[in-house]
């Protein structure tokens, strides 16, 4: 499936602003499975998206969780905990 990746704040600095990717996922097409798969892309991805790092995910611009299912054409954003206000 085609996914539009977005990264923000410290993740953007480590991985760039994001890109459109083709993800040939076998079964689990969840946000958590994508995060796991992205770790394999480069040492920078492995570090920025490591299991012990606090990383939030949004799918189609709505806060999501690891179990949130993905669909073809989804916008998936990864970012650190928010600190506005």
């Amino acid at each position: 499936m085609k996914l539009h990746l977005r990264f923000f704040a410290s993740l953007r600095e480590a991985l760039g602003p994001g890109e459109t990717i083709e993800w040939a996922a076998a079964e689990a097409t969840s946000a958590g499975a994508l995060r796991e798969w992205l770790r394999e892309r480069s040492p920078a991805h492995a570090q920025a998206l490591a299991p012990d790092r606090a990383v939030r995910v949004a799918v189609d611009q709505t806060m999501a969780g690891d179990a949130t299912p993905l669909h073809d054409g989804a916008e998936v954003a990864f970012f650190p905990p928010v600190t506005g206000g």
């Binding site: 939030r56 611009q61 709505t62 600190t83």
Partner: protein, 203 residues
């Protein structure tokens, strides 16, 4: 734009005029008995490690949507008649205004509560990130558990500051709290009160 909508969200680099915004919130209505507001500013000085600037990043589109959902929630909880959230992004120096939250209601209690609720919600659920610059260098500001606890007072569980993958995911605003009283998150865009929203920067 000042009086275009009942609920307004503006994300901008420019400063804002608090007095003018509060006046616009009340203008032309006789059922508003209370206008309450909160203004957040960049804190500097020795206590902040000689902070020279904060740089705020946001997620264009999602930030506006998230705050709009918070405003709708505030309307349902506190009978808000008009409300505005202005949040600045970009580089801001100590003393600069960052955020304005203002609510107009029939009575003061609801107006005060709406402002506090919106700030607690915004701190933990709106996609903004602060980077601070000091003489020692630059660093991203850490999320605070105290902010999650502040939102919990309103009956909304929040785990923004928690670390690792085991952390409970952050719930979308419309799904949080008492689901019996609030619309399904997938249909909130159809909520009648959203029709009154206006933005400076449509997605």
């Amino acid at each position: 734009m000042t009086t275009a909508g009942t609920l307004q969200v503006r994300i901008q680099e420019a400063d804002f005029d608090v007095a003018r915004e509060l006046e616009a919130l009340q203008a032309g209505r006789v059922d508003i008995g209370a206008v309450a507001s909160f203004t957040g500013c960049v804190r500097g000085g020795a206590a902040e490690g000689g902070l020279t600037a904060l740089t705020l990043e946001h997620y264009p589109g999602m930030t506006e949507r998230a705050i709009e959902a918070m405003l709708v929630e505030a309307c349902q909880r506190f009978q808000v008649l008009r409300a505005i959230v202005i949040h600045r992004v970009g580089r801001l120096e100590p003393g600069a205004r960052i955020v304005l939250v203002a609510a107009a209601c029939a009575h003061r209690r609801e107006a005060f509560q709406a402002c506090e609720f919106l700030m607690d919600y915004l701190k933990t659920h709106a996609p903004f990130w602060k980077k601070e610059a000091t003489p020692a260098g630059e660093r991203w500001v850490d999320a605070r558990v105290a902010d999650d606890e502040a939102l919990a007072r309103w009956g909304i569980a929040s785990a923004n500051a928690l670390g690792g993958e085991a952390a409970v995911p952050v719930e979308p605003p419309a799904a949080a709290g008492d689901n019996a009283r609030h619309p399904d998150p997938t249909t909130i865009a159809d909520d009648a009160s959203l029709a009154t929203l206006s933005r400076a920067n449509p997605p």
